[in-house]
Amino acid sequence: MADTMQNYVELQGINKHFGSFQASDNISFTIEKGKLVALLGPSGSGKTTILRMIAGLETPDSGNIVIDGQVVNEIPASRRGIGFVFQNYALFRYMTVYDNIAMGLKVKKIPKAQIKERVDSLLELVSLKGMENRYPNQLSGGQRQRVAFARALAPNPQLLLLDEPFAAIDAKVRQELRSWLKEMIGKLGITSIFVTHDQDEAIEVADEIILTNQGHIEQIGTPEEIYRNPQTAFTASFFGQNAELPDYHDFRSFAELDHVDRVLIRPEFVKVYKQDEKIQYERTASEGIVESVSFRGDRTELRIRVNDAVLAAKRNPGEPAIRAGEAVKVFLYRIFVTRGNEVIPLENLALQTDMVVF
């Protein structure tokens, strides 16, 4: 099946320095046509540099960038057929919404009537009809993002690049815009790459995630793959709200390993029982004391001390309440053990069969 897919963007051994800082260290990857890909990583990991190099806003020191089968290293940014949405949108502040969207078309000397038609249809697409005469400062953050999106799409690019598209928006609107953008890009079928530092955003929006760290790529895969099967120590620690265990031998029935660097546990792999609750794997559970309970609306977050380790766990509102100071039983389904850059997932041996945890 993969054969029929066409690689639309390809990076081949890209290196980039800024002074002595290595922003990209031998970066190679391919992106299939029509995919929505997230470049994810902590700040300073080089993800924005990759995006800017694809756009042609930066030039790699070495390596090739291929778009649609053509090496574009020598092609100026304006002729790469890309649309770019800047982090703060970079809307032309002294132009109306209409002129912002029309600018890219006017530059190409397209007839006025055609421009009008295109801008009108884009305004419709991003539901900003009636706002064409407003200036950017008269719009909300979400509306600005949609203008930026429409402006990037106006010249019909084959590739859409978005730099932290949700960073400048309030938390509440952000959620809405994420689904909107995913839906919109899906509808248009345009190959898109967006940069983000927010794992939830990447998991929720992207078809595929490219995880970067310190200038190199840690892992590439679908959100599910990358979340469930981290291939490197960094990936394992980057995803989820990990707690680190000083010694996993405090918890029963995990395979024995030599030379363990770190032991990571995610809240979703921790199950908490009240003393009187019935428990399936009684013998392998550990005793712990609840240190704190914080109510989060749709769930309750617990911090539980088991010997020297402090675990985070979640509890649904439907389950019997647990108070701080209470003694509880804790069962771990799965932990990640790292050794160098290697990561080994360990299932609790009490779970004989492959069990789907989430």
Partner: protein, 280 residues
């Protein structure tokens, strides 16, 4: 206790305001009033005669010429320099910025001296200029050059902070669309700096109009030929024609007041436009 502290604060406040008012009245307003009063001392017709004197008109024209040159050169320079310093990375940017601001720190007399050394008899350029029959020092070109020099940074200094605050995103976005340099400048950059540019133009005009030291060195004081208004004022003053001196001065006072008013208006407009179009 509380109340006495409040009253003493209020007295302190009135004292400070009064102090400032007195200081500015004596130092700034009194000279202005004095100039106007002295200019009109011998009646309005004497005043009119003084400012419509042939040499006075020549001085006005030369001043106008120098101001226009300074505006033209410094506007072109200011726009180009501000654009390259704020929109591009290149080596030696700091050196260029320092050189641009240099004329501000040089005494006007020394500025004049520098041009005398550049174009005067001992200069390596002198023979060439002589052969081409170009006279610079003690002639109009010298006066113009000196005026350009002392007002050199006035416009670029106003533009650079505004463009720095604006960033390069909008220009990059336009460049990605394939827009050319002039289109980007005209449609994207220029609206940002409109008010700052006008503000710089006003400051540049004020300074160019009033330059004395540097122009004095380079002019050679040829009445009707190389005398700008301030130099003409000096000439009249030293000839004990106080009414004439103050009459011509009064024209410069009027210009200064106009400049101050324009400055306030433009500063306000510029601030408002920057605030209005600034968002997160």
């Amino acid at each position: 206790m509380e109340k006495t502290e409040k009253t003493s604060r209020r007295i302190f406040r009135y004292f400070l305001i009064l102090l400032c008012a007195v200081f500015l009245t004596v130092m700034l307003i009194l000279p202005l009033v004095y100039i106007i009063a002295t200019a009109l001392r011998e009646g309005f017709s004497a005043y009119l005669a003084a400012i419509t004197d042939e040499y006075a008109l020549d001085a006005v024209l030369l001043t106008l010429k120098a101001v226009l040159w300074a505006l033209g050169v410094n506007t072109l320079f200011g726009l180009c320099a501000a654009w390259c310093i704020t929109k591009f990375h290149f080596k030696g940017k700091k050196v260029i910025s320092t050189l641009i601001d240099l004329p501000l720190t040089v005494s006007p007399v020394i500025a004049g001296l520098i041009f005398v050394l550049t174009f005067g008899r001992q200069s390596f350029l002198y023979d060439g200029l002589q052969r081409m029959n170009i006279k610079i020092i003690f002639a109009v070109p010298g006066v113009i050059l000196a005026t350009i020099f002392v007002t050199f940074p006035y416009i670029s200094r106003e533009l650079i902070p505004v463009l720095t605050a604006e960033g390069t995103d909008e220009e990059e976005a336009a460049a990605l669309m394939g827009a050319g340099a002039f289109t980007i400048f005209r449609k994207v950059t220029f609206p940002h700096i409109k008010w700052a540019l006008l503000y710089g133009v006003v400051l540049c005009t004020a300074r160019a109009m009033g330059e004395f030291g540097a122009v004095s060195v380079l002019s050679g004081h040829l009445r009707g030929k190389t005398n700008t208004m301030p130099l003409y004022v000096e000439l009249l003053y030293q000839g004990y024609d106080f009414t004439g001196a103050f009459a011509v001065s009064s024209l410069l006072v009027i210009m200064a007041v106009v400049v101050l008013v324009l400055r306030s208006v433009l500063e306000y407009k510029g601030k408002k436009s920057q605030e209005r179009n600034h968002y997160g």
